[in-house]
């Protein structure tokens, strides 16, 4: 075991830090620390411009292989990039779904043509993606998707019909990756396909859903004979589940380290408030702040272990299975702590009619952390069944 980074890695760190310092200013000053969950709808055009700026510097998709325009960055370098990015308070990445989820999935499962067509615009920060998994009757039970994909032999293309829900950033996205049923007789995880669908077409309707934050970051998406090219299915028809699950494996990769640095900034802010409003003298608050600090440091150690164990192929070790449950629960507690540290001020909005402060927005948004990406209950099922070998849940 060794914790230190090599001299080359430290040099890389200096390179990243310098670039960010030189570029994350001027017109981009106002987007520092903005975006991300709870603030995703803010300063969208500015953040899109920032994605292109990042690309010019060669700082998008650094973990991708060089042949697809990445830097082939090692795990250590990706860790360092994420740390420096968050330290510089870089804005929430508009392109993260394409960069961290779809890109690696195409690299692993896609055809050469799909890679050539879809990877470069993700790299350039030009095409944004959203994730079309959940449906009204398929949430935790994702395999229950009802959206259908029918191959139109005459026109030689796929036609997609159905409804997706909770699709984050669908209203800003150019493309959506969708799991749909290719075999209408099939049930469960068989008979599915993984489709790459353009959002800007007559067969696609996006309706925003207002969240409890008063903002709209997710949507309902309706497909009504939406068109999808014959080459825009990843894997064979029927292989959709395998591809969809492969993608979820990438969700627990290095990008989690950037998230931790954001958490770190939030905790620092809570500490700053506690010191200034006297909450830091309350023995119970002191315990809770220290507990949050302990939890966050251990989150980092957990991910260092997970990344050292080599999960880049998407397969999860036992200890990696705890990751989502761990961070979501920690963050939800942090949200409550923030409000308790603020005391009566926690109720007062920044502005009317419903202008939440960053802390309030964080607090409310943490209630979704334990739901999206597999709820805490589903995470516990996974841990119990796959890591501890306990019997599977009976299915209805």
């Amino acid at each position: 075991m060794k914790l230190r980074f090599s001299a080359q890695d430290e040099q890389f760190r200096a390179e990243v830090a310098t670039w960010l310092e030189q570029n994350l200013g001027g017109e981009f000053e106002e987007i520092r620390g903005r975006g991300g969950p709870g603030d995703e709808h803010m300063l969208v055009e500015e953040r899109k411009a920032w994605e292109r700026k990042l690309h010019q510097g060669g700082w998008t998709c650094i973990g991708w292989p060089a042949e697809y325009g990445g830097r082939n960055a090692t795990i250590e370098q990706q860790v360092i990039f994420n740390e420096e990015y968050a330290r510089a308070r870089g804005p929430g990445r508009m392109g993260h779904i394409g960069e961290t989820l779809l890109g690696p999935t195409l690299i692993a499962f896609g055809s050469e043509g799909q890679k050539q067509r879809f990877l470069p615009p993700i790299l350039r920060g030009e095409e944004l993606w959203c994730q079309g998994y959940s449906e009204p009757s398929a949430g935790s039970d994702l395999a229950n998707v009802k959206t259908r994909a029918r191959f139109d032999e005459e026109a030689g293309r796929w036609l997609i019909t159905g409804q997706k829900v909770w699709t984050s950033l669908a209203h800003e996205s150019h493309y959506c990756f969708v799991i749909a049923r290719v075999d209408p007789q099939s049930v469960g995880h068989r008979g599915l396909g993984f489709f790459l669908i353009a959002m800007n077409q007559p067969g696609v309707t996006v309706r925003p859903i207002e969240q409890l934050t008063g903002t709209c970051e997710f949507n309902e998406v309706f497909f009504d004979d939406a068109v999808c090219g014959p080459d825009d299915i990843v894997g064979a028809p029927g292989d959709g589940w395998k591809v969809a699950m492969g993608l979820l494996g990438f969700e627990r990769g290095v990008s989690t380290l950037g998230q931790q640095m954001l958490f770190n900034n939030e905790l620092d802010e809570i500490i700053r408030i506690a010191r200034s409003n006297g909450a830091a003298r309350d023995p119970v608050i002191r315990q809770r702040i220290a507990d949050a600090h302990v939890g966050l440091r251990i989150m980092r150690f957990n991910s260092m272990r997970m990344l050292s164990g080599g999960t880049s192929d998407g397969s999860l070790q036992k200890e990696a299975m705890i990751y989502k449950l761990y961070w979501s629960t920690w963050h939800r507690n942090l949200g409550k702590l923030a409000m308790d540290v603020l005391g009566p001020e926690s109720e007062i909005l920044d502005s009317g009619p419903y202008g939440l402060s960053r802390m309030q927005s964080m607090y409310l948004f943490t209630r979704s952390d334990t739901i999206y990406g597999g709820t805490n209950q589903i995470q516990r099922n996974i841990i119990a069944e796959r890591a501890l070998g306990m019997p599977r849940e009976p299915r209805g």
Binding site: M1, L3, A274, R286, Q287, H293, F301, R305, L388, P391
Partner: protein, 389 residues
């Protein structure tokens, strides 16, 4: 950066696992814990002569194996897992650390080879006030010519009734807190020392009271500067804290494993109780805690290695120790407590081992400060801007 065991570290862990599976069975633990001595001297001899365990992180120049703290913590984890009853922790994690941190070269040359060949030892610094920081030091040390005279009582001393060698802390009269503390190393049979076994709820880790009545030592017993030893003692305590957290992780893991094994056997309402979701989710939470706890101890162990090598990350020692102890204490207690619940009635019997883990969880939690104590230590740096030391 590589935060996983090397091949050699894996081998050390697996060897410890295999040896302990053979010698630290439930029956062996129960036999040893029923005695006042608290361990089987023949087994200790094997641990020293066959396994060279006390030598683990003693430098080669003193006859040791010269391995690191990660290896030591990996062994502690296995010892916790098997509820080992032995003077290993007191000798290696308390006294040896004390000698490595604070002893002169002559003292090291005299005592470390003795430890390698099986001499047992411990550290005594706590009086009876229930503190674990500098305030814990209550024994008084006065000067008489060239000699030092120590009087006072030590309580909660691991294996204090049986250890052959003692490292003790005492303070100058009229001082408080971090001032005036000195460390001494001395044979336990010095005139003026009387030692009493304290019966404990957790019978697998023995404690003692040591009464010092004008124990007179010459200058060769003094470790470091007179009255200036707190910084060293603080480091010794941090190192010992990391090691006990290793024991806690092993215990928390075994509490989970034995519980899951039971859940997969026991049938109620016509199905394995492991199939009930209320039960599965509790087991999942136990796994989350033990895995997070494991991350905490190995990070802390790496920091301890940095400390011994004089690396720049050694400034993190107090923080890493408190993070590990705060988290592992709660995790072990949670897992052992939940383990009893999930065992049902048999969990409350003397026969099943889960009760032994539950008791060791509490004794290791209390020792060197519980989770609240360590969180408050962290809170001071986070909120008051003070140093941890």
């Amino acid at each position: 950066m590589e935060f996983k065991f090397s091949e050699e570290q894996l081998m050390i862990r697996d060897t410890a696992d295999a040896f302990l599976a053979e010698v630290s069975t439930s029956a062996a633990v129960r036999e040893a814990m029923a005695t006042e001595l608290g361990y089987d001297p023949m087994l200790w001899q094997r641990m020293c002569e066959e396994m060279f365990w006390p030598a683990i992180h003693i430098p080669e120049q003193f006859g040791g194996m010269g391995l690191g703290y990660v290896e030591l913590v990996a062994m502690q984890e296995q010892m916790g897992r098997y509820l080992l009853c032995a003077p290993f922790y007191a000798t290696v994690c308390l006294a040896t650390n004390a000698l490595l941190v604070a002893a002169s070269e002559q003292q090291k040359a005299r005592y470390l080879p003795a430890i390698v060949s099986g001499t047992t030892a411990t550290l005594a610094y706590t009086g009876s006030n229930g503190q674990w920081d500098a305030d814990a030091v209550e024994a008084i040390c006065t000067r008489e010519g060239e000699n030092y005279v120590i009087s006072g009582n030590y309580r909660f001393v691991p294996d204090g009734h049986s250890a052959q060698l003692l490292v003790v802390a005492a303070r100058e009269p009229g001082t408080r807190g971090e001032e005036g503390i000195s460390l001494f190393v001395l044979p336990a049979d010095c005139p003026g020392i009387s030692r009493h076994w304290l019966p404990t709820m957790d019978q697998t880790r023995k404690q003692a009271r040591l009464d010092f009545d004008k124990v007179t030592l010459d200058a060769s017993a003094l470790m470091g500067e007179v009255g200036q030893a707190w910084p060293q003692l603080a480091q010794i305590i941090d190192l010992a804290t990391i090691a006990i957290a290793g024991d806690q992780v092993g215990g928390a893991q075994q509490s989970l494993d034995s519980t899951v094994a039971y859940l997969k056997e026991r049938v109620q309402f016509g199905r394995k109780i492991a199939s009930y979701q209320a039960v599965k989710h509790k087991a999942a939470d136990m796994m989350l805690k033990v895995e997070a706890a494991r991350s905490a101890i190995y990070y802390a162990a790496c920091i301890a290695d940095e400390f011994f090598q004089g690396g720049e990350l050694s400034v993190e020692l107090p923080e890493a120790a408190s993070i590990a102890k705060a988290y592992c204490s709660d995790a072990y207690f949670h897992n052992a407590g939940t383990g009893i619940q999930l065992h049902g009635g048999v969990g409350f019997t003397a026969e099943y081992d889960i009760q032994l883990y539950f008791k060791r969880a509490k004794s290791t939690e209390t020792f060197l400060g519980n989770a609240s104590y360590h969180r408050e230590r962290l809170a001071r740096t986070l909120l008051d801007g003070s140093d941890l030391l």
